[in-house]
Symmetry: C2
Subunit: 362 residues, 2 copies
């Protein structure tokens, strides 16, 4: 058994670099995803970093350049703990690939998302001691993991706007679910940008650079961008389309997971819903007739504004095949779009169409 | 001619209380909507308040209760100017009423929205001098306009969450497009909550109360709430459904406006798009074949994060009837849903389905 533990709870899309999503069964009903089944999305090999010699540089448009050890970070700033869901921009891409193939991209199902309780310090507190200059507009993160799929090959990086960076909820985290952050999830310190696509939460953080413009790293300037359906991603170039950040309202069904034939009758339907940034989940609708009629699912108790919303309901299902549909509404009254066909895009990001699950009952 | 000026640019839904939307022609191509055609949504008669005797009370969970004259407000706090779009939660309701009637509600078209440059002080600055107590969660606004459609009849009020209230962009405004705020738009001082439904931007502001819970005013607790399609709004009671706040991505077509037969050939298609809170507009798609294919519209220069996004493109249209469709994507990659049928709700709020315009060409 490798560092990932229970491999039967993971769907492994790629062994090296390691890319694996959590099974529906392992996600269902748990506010926090156990470390050994938390999804992993990597563009390069997982670095092993000695926490004792690790240093974090804070530079760019700051009055005070900083170089911080892990001990400095832990001693100088107040500790913050929050529950946050991470979600890959490619989560549920398989639904787009059913419409039209997306060569070279992994067919992620609904498990490229997981939730943990993170502990660390607030990026805003660190930036306060660095004293951000007035010209600052973005905060870039750099890491040592070499991404061979970048053009040209380069280490991974991202950036977020200054407003988000100063909002308080962005963490530099060294712990996950009360345990020391594992190497696979970014030890000794990773960024956690609650409500944004996972790619902005840079693992194995080494450098924070305050700058006027967004990062020119491949994964900010070229990849993780929503392009129009007709665009050619290979020739689109830096800056084309929308750089993904805050996450649109999304949901999927985790129970039943379609793996077994269930007895007909009252059947528990359960899943997750999530909306990024300041939006929460207001309502989850479930339908047994493909959206002709809906009932409202029960929402579990929330674990704060940055955590997904678990939900459940019970439908009385007849023998034979049933199609279960679910859709979530966020607190801005945005609802998931009905059809994945309308959402197809060349890199296969942000499939937030209605969740559908075919189940067989006896 | 009344205080509204060019009445032919307004579509008047109700004379008393005054409810009127701006025509497509008057909105098209203007970043700022002229004062005399800025939409008006009122639940009671427009109060005439003497600015010299006006006082603003700030109370509730604050260490320092304040009573401020207009001169105090203007002298004690830094002046702030920003361009913000206001949009009624019922904007584009007519599209929902085509699906199923919504008795007692006005059939607003796409003109229950307008944009102005507002000047005033930041609510955050006022709250800083009031010193908000730790138990605070919401900031309530109260005004003197008596709403006879409330149950029981009461003056208008609303509230917003503390995080939004402290974010800096919420203004207590006394000027609009460089002119003194007109009585019809809330003189001497109104709230402007950028990115939220217009109902939260309370006109004729008299009292700001910091409190633990949202306002119990009818327009916060009962009206302006998104209910499931099957709910009975008359028996839903306080707290049912989603209290509308931040605005979901929306757009409509302003040119052509369907009022005249145009010559066939290259035809300008233009409109607005808007997404509330921290979201901007990333892309606007336009289709001449009901969504089978889309082209990307040109986006006008932005007037900041709280202003709508104007857009235009040119389509080569044949003689006869054409159906033009438009849809916007926000910076969280949320897109407008295709069908108004999926969005129908008992009070007719938040119709953000694709914009459609039938045009006739010769």
């Amino acid at each position: 058994m490798g560092p990932w533990g229970k491999r039967d709870s993971m769907i492994i899309h790629q062994a090296e670099p390691y890319n694996a999503e959590t099974s529906r069964a392992a996600l269902a009903g748990h506010m926090l995803t156990p470390l050994d089944v938390f999804y992993g999305r990597n563009h390069g090999p997982i670095p092993e970093i000695d926490p004792g010699s690790w240093r974090l540089t804070v530079d760019g448009l700051v009055r005070n350049q900083l170089e911080l050890s892990l001990a400095d970070l832990q001693a100088r700033y107040p500790h913050r703990t929050l529950t946050a869901t991470l979600q890959c921009a490619g989560n549920r891409r398989a639904g787009l690939m059913e419409i039209r193939d997306i060569p070279g991209e992994a067919p992620w199902g609904p498990g490229a998302t997981s939730t943990a309780q993170w502990a660390g310090v607030s990026l805003a507190d660190v930036l306060e001691t660095a004293a951000v200059e007035p010209a600052a507009g973005h905060v870039a993160f750099a890491a040592p993991d070499m991404a061979l799929d970048a053009e040209p090959p380069q280490t991974f990086g991202s950036s977020i706007g200054l407003r988000k960076a100063l909002a308080g909820e962005v963490l530099l985290a060294w712990a996950m679910n009360g345990e020391q952050l594992p190497a696979a999830h970014g030890a000794p310190v990773r960024v956690v940008v609650p409500g944004y696509i996972g790619a902005r939460s840079v693992k194995w953080l080494q450098r924070i650079t305050v700058q006027e413009q967004p990062s020119e790293n491949y994964f900010q300037a070229v990849a993780y961008r929503l392009l129009p359906p007709g665009a050619d991603p290979d020739s689109a170039g830096p800056g084309a389309g929308l750089a993904l950040g805050a996450i649109a309202v999304n949901a999927d069904i985790l129970r039943p997971d379609g793996s077994t034939v269930l007895p007909a009758g009252p059947t528990e339907i359960a899943g997750y819903a999530f909306a990024g940034d300041d939006r929460g989940i207001a309502r989850v609708d479930v339908s047994a007739d493909n959206g002709a009629s809906w009932i409202q699912a029960e929402l579990y108790e929330s674990d704060g504004p940055w955590a997904w919303q678990l939900w459940r309901t019970v439908l009385d299902l007849p023998p034979g095949e049933s199609l279960i549909t679910a859709r979530a509404w966020d607190t801005a009254a945005a609802v998931q779009p009905e059809s994945a066909a309308e959402l197809w895009n060349p890199k296969g990001y942000v499939n937030n169409s209605w969740a559908r699950m075919r189940v067989c009952l006896r």
